[in-house]
Symmetry: C2
Subunit: 457 residues, 2 copies
Amino acid sequence: MPTRSLLASIVGERYVLDDEESFLVYGRDEYPRAFSKPRAVVLPANAQEVSEVVHACYRHGIPITPRGRGTGLSGGALPLHNSVVVSLERMEKILEINEEDHLVVTQPGVIVKNLHDAVEAHDLFYPPDPASLESCSIGGNVAENAGGPRAVKYGVTRHYLLGLEVVMPGGQLCRLGGRVLKNTTGYDLPHLFVGSEGTLGIITSITLRLIPRPRLTCDLLIPFASLDKASRAVNRILMDLGIIPAVLEFMDAHSVAAAERMTGQTFPFSEAEGHLLIQLDGSSETEIEKQAAALGELCLTLGADDVFIAQNSATRDRLWAARRAVLEACETTRPATELHDISVPRSRIPDLVRQLQTLTAPLGVDVACFGHAGDGNVHVALMSDDPSSFEEQLEVLNRTVAHTALALGGTISGEHGTGAVKKTHLDQALSPLEMKLMRSLKAAIDPQGLMNPGKIF
Amino acid sequence: MPTRSLLASIVGERYVLDDEESFLVYGRDEYPRAFSKPRAVVLPANAQEVSEVVHACYRHGIPITPRGRGTGLSGGALPLHNSVVVSLERMEKILEINEEDHLVVTQPGVIVKNLHDAVEAHDLFYPPDPASLESCSIGGNVAENAGGPRAVKYGVTRHYLLGLEVVMPGGQLCRLGGRVLKNTTGYDLPHLFVGSEGTLGIITSITLRLIPRPRLTCDLLIPFASLDKASRAVNRILMDLGIIPAVLEFMDAHSVAAAERMTGQTFPFSEAEGHLLIQLDGSSETEIEKQAAALGELCLTLGADDVFIAQNSATRDRLWAARRAVLEACETTRPATELHDISVPRSRIPDLVRQLQTLTAPLGVDVACFGHAGDGNVHVALMSDDPSSFEEQLEVLNRTVAHTALALGGTISGEHGTGAVKKTHLDQALSPLEMKLMRSLKAAIDPQGLMNPGKIF
């Protein structure tokens, strides 16, 4: 039976897409350099249909690429090997918000921002906040173990996961974990699936722990003349003040310049080499004000050029719009760019930035670094005005970035996943034994290798 | 070659124990009803020796039972199937405390209290705090994914794990994960090993994330006439005050009575059905005082009989000594007892306690419930004055407790693991598909089934 008929018999003709325009949309994620034409795109309405689709593909040996909202940056949703894209976008209901037990049960296609808004209306809080939160799905967040700025205080997606409903590679619907905060009943299977990038099954329902919503926030922008000074300040903020800010980000001068180019706005002290962008949160106004004052004073004694406190929501929104714009700005304001998602021990950020600048300068490539100073997760944008030589150098550049991160005790992907893009550097990052272990887990759960082929492995 | 010679050739004669006295010690953990004579006990000095011991056992098809400090409550370290006990007690060095990057690298045999003290001397904090913290090892904590009272605010062992060094079932030494807070480089293997109860390998080194040490704590004891009232107060504390206490425990009247019997001290309002024991922490004295006052007022409006604030460290220590004594008190002050470690969604705790009391009363069995009101993890002590009829009823009693927890949306083990004891109820708690998945993971990593045999599976 042709793939189209096979799939249409389950979800209906309307929800199988195989036109060229759809292929252009579903043949890629937001990693700009990769495209792969899918065999077909199917949009199931519920777990039962996902199960039947997977079972049908399994019987016919057809590979499957699960897809949330396609906002990934590592090619995790790239439909390699002539696979069928199973898009979860129609499964966008929040099934339960439980105020007593502080949990939410949601379908995978829900946009993260909608999930945030829905639980916050109940005075609850789901902390993970990837930059793409207005367009990415919670299912994709679980598959990639998404992070975001608030990870420094609140952790990543994994830390909120209680239970999953998953369609296994053979099509069986399986519930893993549950609704409890502490669970040592056998292996904790949800924790194997989070971050497995769709290579072990398709998530059809997610149960997440929530916490009480912090009532108040206060945002600060603090420029330092050097990244070393900013980095020392990060550690002193954490240690001397005895608080963990909700957000503790940095941007270097290249990142700020890119954001200025794109937004047309100017930044105070835009030439500063290390801007810290900090959010405090809590439930007491006087306490937050005291903390902000202490933080500002501490930073001034540590050599900050100035301390800007966002006094109102307009200032705050402008601050964060600039931070969120950096990624897009780096990608769009220069003719040739490549983005990395490096994780290093926090104290090594200045070394990382310095070494990358030294290594790439002779090649005529600029490096912008920004991201999560508090947790050591640095986004590195390589930028050039000469696309053709950039493309030629890219493989060497990428291996150089990976090598630099690893040599500093870090790793090649902090929160964007391995996918199809970073897997070429996996042999640098992992030992043969780790690789073998991962392969044996994959083989145990997906012996035919049909689930999201060409990712990680 | 006899097992003794095989092992002695690696670790030296002195560190192989095969006398009857050692067998009595190493043939059990703290679950009182189970003993199994080991084939031998070996005490390796380092990872290399662990690797050689495991490799030697593997070649000879000898099963292995890894052991931390033997404080487990689910028979996880019970040397079933004539296995060799590999005790990690000699590996008790803290290898690195990193103030800049807020992490600790430790050998597995370190006592958790010693780890706490060592990192707190650097103004850092490792939150997980199982009741046995003065005698249990950090390796055992990782193997069992240990929790403790502070989990309500700070999470369990899993949430602090960054990297592991593990000896695999064939003897290979393997590093998993690393030193970074965010890591999406392939599958997150440390998260498969945490909570796997020694069935996948032996942990020889652990890298844990730390946080800044909270400067101040304030402890409150708040008695309520009923568990319903106490339970409602728990939710209102979390929601209305907008803070998560560091600790949010409860004890029912039976638990308090047992603690009084053992310690010889009396509790205020000891007849109250729901005592809440709360710890606030933070860095600002005025803020904590304000929170404590608001918390006390809130509880009084919700029907608390009184609010006791521990004004000094002597009072605080007495409070916590009583809470920590409950477990031992339940076990030692009655002729026949059995302890369960149930997890339910927080709001179901009153239902759980009521149903257990109703179900067990006709059998002449008392039920004491205490534990982690904030996260839904309840320790249930079944107590009787008639050992012989208790033993006869025990299987039915245990199935009843498991069934009750599961029917309330909970599970049969919150933080004590599955081990040899709870595995008899695993078929109640897990679906056949979940069981099959767990078995396939075990088979992928330990195909010979030599690592901690008879646990979980």
